[in-house]
Every structure is written in C-alpha cells, then in structure tokens.
C-alpha cells in the first residue's frame, strides 16, 4: 500500500502557460502533472501522486486568502498522507505560494508537507522556520537534484520517521536545535580539524560563517567643495506618517524622498520607521540619524557642493542581506546615473 501524495504546482510547471497565464485560478487534476512525474519516479513505489493542484502564481499572491482556502480544500478532498509543493527554485511568487500552502497544510490540515526552493527565494526566509524547505538550485535545471531529496523527506514524514539534521536531509536550517552527543569529543574534533587545515587537507567546519565579499574602496574626492553628497540611511528615517509603510523589521523596500526643501529635519516632518532601536530620539530630531542640518550648513560654508535632492532610506532591522543588496544596487545605479560621486550612509 503506497502513500497518497497531493502535489501543488504553478501554471508554468503544469505547462498551461507562462506569465500570461499567471492569473490561472486553482484547478485539480487526477494523478501527477509535470514535475510530479519526476517525484513519482523518486518515490520508487512507496508513494504515489494521486492528484495535482495547479494555481497561477499571480492569482495566488493577489488572492491570498481565497486562493489558499480553495487550494486547501482541493488538497484535503483528495485525502493525502503527505503533500509536496513545488519546487519553486527562484520564482518568488511561486515560492511564496508554495510556502503559504505548505504552512497552511501543516497548520490547518495537520498533514506532513515538504516544499523546495532556492535559498534566496523570498518564500525561503518567510517560511523556512515554519515548514521543511529543501534547498534547490536557482532554476529548473536543478529538478534532478531536488526531486529525490523532496521525495525522500516526504516519505520519512509520511512514515513518521525521525527527521535528521538539515545538513543530512537537505532542508534549509530552520532554527531548531536538537542536542545530540557526537561520537568524538570536541577537543579531538578540533585538533583533527586543525591538523587538516595546517596540512592543507580538506576539512569541514562545524559552523559556517556567511560569506561577505569585498568591494574596492572608492577613490578619494579631490574637490569636495564642488561635490554633491547623497544621503542614505538604514535607520529608517521617513517623512512623518511613513507614507510608503516601510516595515519596522525585514523591510521589503526602500524609500526615496525629496529633501531639497529641507534645511533641518524636525518632529513635525520626519520620523523613524525602524523597530530595532528606541525611536524616541530619532522621532524628536531625525537629524540625529540623517544629518541634514549639518550638511546644509556645510553647503552654505562652501565645504561641499550640495546635497542630492533625494535621500534613500530603509530599515536595517532584520532585513535580509539579499534584500539590502538589491536596494543598494538600485540606489547605486540611480546615483551613478546622476553623476554622484559621494554618499554618506548612516546606520543605527
């Protein structure tokens, strides 16, 4: 007797169409569709996709509650033992849909569920602590690696077997720590690692550090008196009322606001949206985070050529490195295109 699996995919993988079909409403089809065939093969007879739920990525993301409810009902009606969503690779809306469906299947249907996507998919940060997300490559060429891992984890869950560490099973670290006893004591492992390192032999770190690449320093400014300086901040300074609703944590965007008419920022016109530090001081006087008043004085004194008419702002609190990188790229592009050579970035 093999386990019943329901598979959730989008309009593209169902071969219905691309972006022009992203508004496809949820549809249920018997059996496996598209990548479901690869999953069925990987199950080796222990499980079988009895039905596939297909939904357009835009439809899902624009009708979150309604779509989720419809999809959930389709899944539940098929009476699966385990559910698989995606994999979404780097498709953002698809990843968000997979994560949302997976979380709902887990929370509302109480069923085991697995999904998969690329590490930088926005759905990953949103859901990796809620559901198992197998880490995949960033495009569909990674299906061959992803399918067996997703199938294997799905089978484990269906059988009620103990799930191993993220590094073993291939899912994204989800913040859960399980204590266990290593076979060798720490001092032995550390010395072995060091000996390998000294001998130039390969070794595996027990704690990988995120990699931070380096950028060559920009050239020194030779004529500051005639140089316009741009202001950027991660301290969340925004016009009063935070008109674009920049989030207090994990900002999903950056703002670009006109300061050309401001000599000084005050509580009447600016505030901070940042939720990661006590906002009192910045709310009283936003110059404490974005030094407009001082720069205006320096402009009058002829020490600098001027201030770029727009300042850029986001909230650095919990914002993903990948997101910050995107904002930085966009801001950098505008400044470069505008011929700006210097920028002050303030952080809290």
């Amino acid at each position: 007797m093999s386990f019943r699996v329901v598979h959730y995919i989008n309009q593209f993988f169902a071969q219905i169409g691309g972006e022009e079909k992203a508004d496809y409403a949820p549809e249920y089809r018997e059996g496996a569709v598209g990548p479901g065939l690869a999953l069925n093969t990987a199950f080796k007879g222990e499980a079988e996709i009895v039905g596939t739920v297909i939904c357009g990525d835009s439809y899902f993301n624009e009708n979150l509650d309604a779509a989720k409810a419809t999809v959930l009902k389709m899944i539940s009606d098929a009476k699966p033992d385990v559910v698989i969503c995606g994999p979404a690779f780097n498709a953002g809306r698809y990843g968000v849909a997979c994560g949302t469906v997976a979380a709902a299947v887990k929370d509302e249907l109480g069923l085991p569920v697995v999904t998969g996507m690329y590490e930088e998919n926005p759905g990953a940060d949103m859901f990796k602590n809620k559901v198992y997300i197998i880490a995949t490559k960033n495009n569909a060429a990674g299906m061959r690696q992803a399918a067996p891992k997703m199938a294997a984890l799905a089978l484990k869950l269906a059988k009620g077997e103990k799930v191993g560490a993220s590094a073993e099973e291939g899912y994204m670290p989800n913040g859960l720590r399980v204590n266990f006893f290593e076979a060798e004591r720490g001092s032995t492992r550390a010395v072995k690692m060091l000996l390998n390192k000294l001998a130039g032999k390969p070794y595996t770190t027990e704690f990988p550090m995120p990699s931070f690449d380096r950028v060559a320093p920009g050239p020194a400014i030779t004529d500051l008196a005639h140089t316009t300086i741009a202001l950027v901040t991660s301290g969340g300074i925004v016009p009063k009322g935070n008109p674009d609703h920049i989030e207090s944590s994990s900002a999903s965007k950056f703002g670009r606001y006109d300061i050309s008419s401001f000599e000084d920022l005050t509580a009447a016109d600016h505030e901070t949206a940042h939720g990661g530090y006590d906002p009192v001081y910045a709310n009283e006087d936003a110059d404490r985070v974005l030094p407009v008043d001082v720069l205006r004085k320096m402009e009058k004194e002829g020490k600098i050529g001027g201030i770029y008419p727009y300042f850029f702002t986001t909230v650095g609190n919990g914002t993903a490195v990948a997101s910050a990188k995107k904002y930085g790229e966009a801001i950098g592009k505008e400044l470069r295109d505008a011929g700006i050579k210097a920028a002050i970035l303030t952080s809290t």
Binding site: P217, V294, Y327, G328, G332
Partner: protein
C-alpha cells in the same frame, strides 16, 4: 548597501555605531558614531552642543571622503 553603492562607483562613508559589524561586512570608510538610537546626536546635550557634535562627526566623514584608502579604515 554600502558595498553595492560603492560598487556602482560612488565613494561611500559609513557612519555607524557598531563598527565591528561594518568591518565584518566590508565597508571601506567608517566613521564611528555616538549611540544606536542617536548615532549623530546626544540628547543629554543642549541643542547647540548637539549640533556641534554632529558637525564634528560629519567633518570626519568629509575627511574620510578626501582620504585615499587601500583597505578598510576607521576615521576616529
């Protein structure tokens, strides 16, 4: 963000309080600031004294702009 903006060809000075983070992440010109909730201010001072303080900090940033650097440098 500092690095991406610098990568675009803009010389950036990072004014921040927790400089070890800035160092780890790789900013090239760093000016240490006063405190997390008020990097360029100090509510214990009068408004005029605060302005002076802020002015001096931004002056350090201007100095940093004008200084060629080969490696990460903190302008104290």
């Amino acid at each position: 963000m500092v690095k991406e903006i610098e990568r675009a060809g803009v010389t950036v000075v990072h004014m921040c309080t927790v400089t070890p983070i800035s160092m780890t992440v790789g900013a090239n010109r760093i000016v240490p600031t006063i405190a997390i909730p008020h990097p360029l201010g100090n509510p214990a001072l009068t408004h005029e004294e605060e302005f002076e303080l802020r002015y001096k900090l931004v002056e350090k940033a201007l100095k940093a702009f004008q200084t060629p650097v080969d490696d990460q440098t903190i302008f104290d």
